[in-house]
Amino acid sequence: MDQNGFFGNWGGAYIPEILHQTFVELKEEYTRCRKDPAFWQEYLTLMSTYSCRPTPLTYAENLTHHFGGAKIYIKREDLNHTGAHKANNVMGQGLLVKRMGKKRVIAETGAGQHGMATATMAAKFGLDCTIYMGEEDVLRQRPNVFWMEKMGATVVTVKDGSRTLKDAINEAFRDWVTNVDNTHYVFGTACGPAPFPEMVAWFQSIIGIEAAKQIIQYHGKMPARVYACVGGGSNAMGIFKRFLDESDVELIGVEAGGHGADSHAHAIRLSSPDATPGVAQGYKTMFLQDEDGQMKHTHSVAAGLDYVGVSPILSDLWDKKLVRFESATDTEVMQALDLTMKQEGIIPALESSHAFAGAFKEVGKLAKDDAIIINQSGRGDKDIFTIAHAFDDPSWKKFIIDRGKEYSNS
């Protein structure tokens, strides 16, 4: 990151003037933390006692035999407390908030996992917490809303625009400019104005640091490829960062193909010609926008990938051809999820299932003495309503109908 917050052509800090001073203070505190080895140590201790770090690297033996190619290893971010990699970033920012002395945190959430993690952190650190969530996401991720509220957070349903992640981000910014003195915005992904992309990627880098050690231990050498799904890009940056220095490791980001690359109902920013450079939500990146610069509606079965922009760090790595970007459609994702559950007894989140789908297309062609790592960014049981609906599961439907009757009679 240069001094203006750019990674090559991407990033920056396009912020309203009211936030200028708070960003000055945030950058100072972040810089102090990065230089202070005790801070990272405190972070590691917190993550190993409050969450489940280091998370395991699981050898997926059955999937490996199924495809007959490289050995498949799965980095289990689903086993973090709150069930996703989001906790890595949130707990790190929580330590930062304590240092800055702010009493209130706000966050946007798409899939609800970042909101969950933030509500958890706020409960643990004794902070007031408000979570902004698009109306469409509230509907598809209702269980997370329930838990956030139970942990004491206020969940605000955002009914503007496309009623998804980007609109939740706008609304969180509106809160921040109003309550800037006592509030920190816990940005959930490696996007937004600097220093958020770099800071979030730093906290998430713990994933790749662990995975590199683990793969050497189990496999004896670096993996041939590493796969991660890409919404905003924080889990991808988290696992990629450590491997960027390893020239023999190919990094693959899998975007949300939705109904297909030609359907205009997808969230493919880097692996399709549909996105163009733009500036919104405080940073410059590749956005899905029209010729006037108005943001388009996106679609993905996975709420956490349903986003118009992408991390400026990933746009830079894409520019420099250091990461390859592919996409997986909703249908491919459901198939990959089904296969993973049946073969391994593991339920990846719909977001993470994109990484699995991307890997499954290629792994059979790789040599048997090679290995790949798939980053399982989160667990899928939060998606039970969406997954059950997509599988058109008859016994689940009956359960919902019966429970509905029970509630409507009471």
């Binding site: 203006n4 920056g12 800090a13 396009y14 912020i15 309203p16 003037e17 009211i18 936030l19 200028h20 001073q21 708070t22 503007d160 625009g161 980007k166 706008n170 910014f173 509106r174 400019v177 109003t178 309550n179 800037v180 003195d181 163009t276 450079p277 733009g278 500036v279 919104a280 939500q281 405080g282 410059k284 956005f287 926008q289 010729e291 006037d292 610069g293 108005q294 943001m295």
Partner: protein, 254 residues
């Protein structure tokens, strides 16, 4: 310099100027025309015309909805330029564009300046473009003599205000309070202290906006600010009472 001089000339006859805000294409360009006519005829000194954007991060619910409705009705950037050219030809007050940076970036910065100049636009207010991010923007503003309006806020330090003043032109837009557009502001002692800080940081005229809704609010600004900005209030008025109500409302403010 052109914009500042125009405002200074007006200030010779008036103790405070009025700037109003419209969202282009909301509810329609025809209604915009009627509203502007009533504003100018009733003494408005400057009008900021917002080119709608799908992600208006600094705007509150009234202007947010106006942006979305305008876009849903099909308003294009090209329509905004055509409209600006027509209106600035017709009325002898300065017209500004207010929008978010992506609209300019996507159009092509220099093309946007060129087209705005041809359309008679005197200044730009871009709330998500701090000077650090706007080096080429500021160079083009100078080249095309379109004033970049910079923004002061209650959280701005004295040093920051002085720094911003070196980049600003035309006037400085002083945001009255924390938050987004459209909510009531309190013009108390803290506010007076803030305005005094603004005044000592720049020689440019000071406009005050965010939450100014009534004659009393404007009365309170006289002697402290050079221009009062009415934003969401007239948009609400058009929504509730129609364009015809704007003239008498503006006339009642001073």
């Amino acid at each position: 310099m052109q914009l500042e001089q125009q405002l200074r000339d007006k200030l010779k006859d008036k103790d405070i100027l009025l700037m109003t805000h419209i969202v282009l294409g909301y509810p329609s360009l025809d209604v915009n025309r009627e509203v502007i006519k009533q504003m100018v005829e009733n003494g408005v000194d400057c009008i900021e015309m917002q080119i709608p954007f799908s992600e208006p991060m600094a705007d509150g619910p009234v202007i947010l909805k106006a942006n979305q409705t305008s876009l849903a009705a099909g308003t294009k950037v090209a329509d905004c330029f055509t409209f600006a050219a027509e209106i600035s030809e017709q009325y002898d007050i300065p017209f500004l564009f207010m929008t978010y940076y992506n609209i300019i970036f996507k159009y092509g910065e220099e093309d946007f300046f060129k087209r705005a100049k041809e359309s008679g636009i005197k200044g730009f207010i871009i709330p998500d473009l701090p000077p650090e991010m706007g080096k080429s923007f500021l160079t083009l503003a100078d080249k095309y003599q379109i004033s970049p309006i910079l923004i002061y806020t209650p959280t701005s330090t004295d040093e920051r205000m002085k720094e911003l003043a070196t980049y600003g032109d035309g006037f400085i837009y002083c945001v009255a309070r924390r938050g987004v557009t459209g909510k009531k502001s309190e013009f108390d002692q803290d506010f007076d202290g803030y305005l005094a800080r603004c005044r000592s940081a720049t020689k440019l005229p000071l406009a005050v906006g965010f939450g100014i809704q009534s004659k009393e609010d404007i009365q309170a600004l006289k002697g402290k600010a050079d221009m009062a900005v009415i934003g969401s209030r007239t948009i609400q008025l058009v929504e509730s009472e129609g364009a015809g109500a704007v003239g008498s409302f503006i006339a009642s403010l001073r």
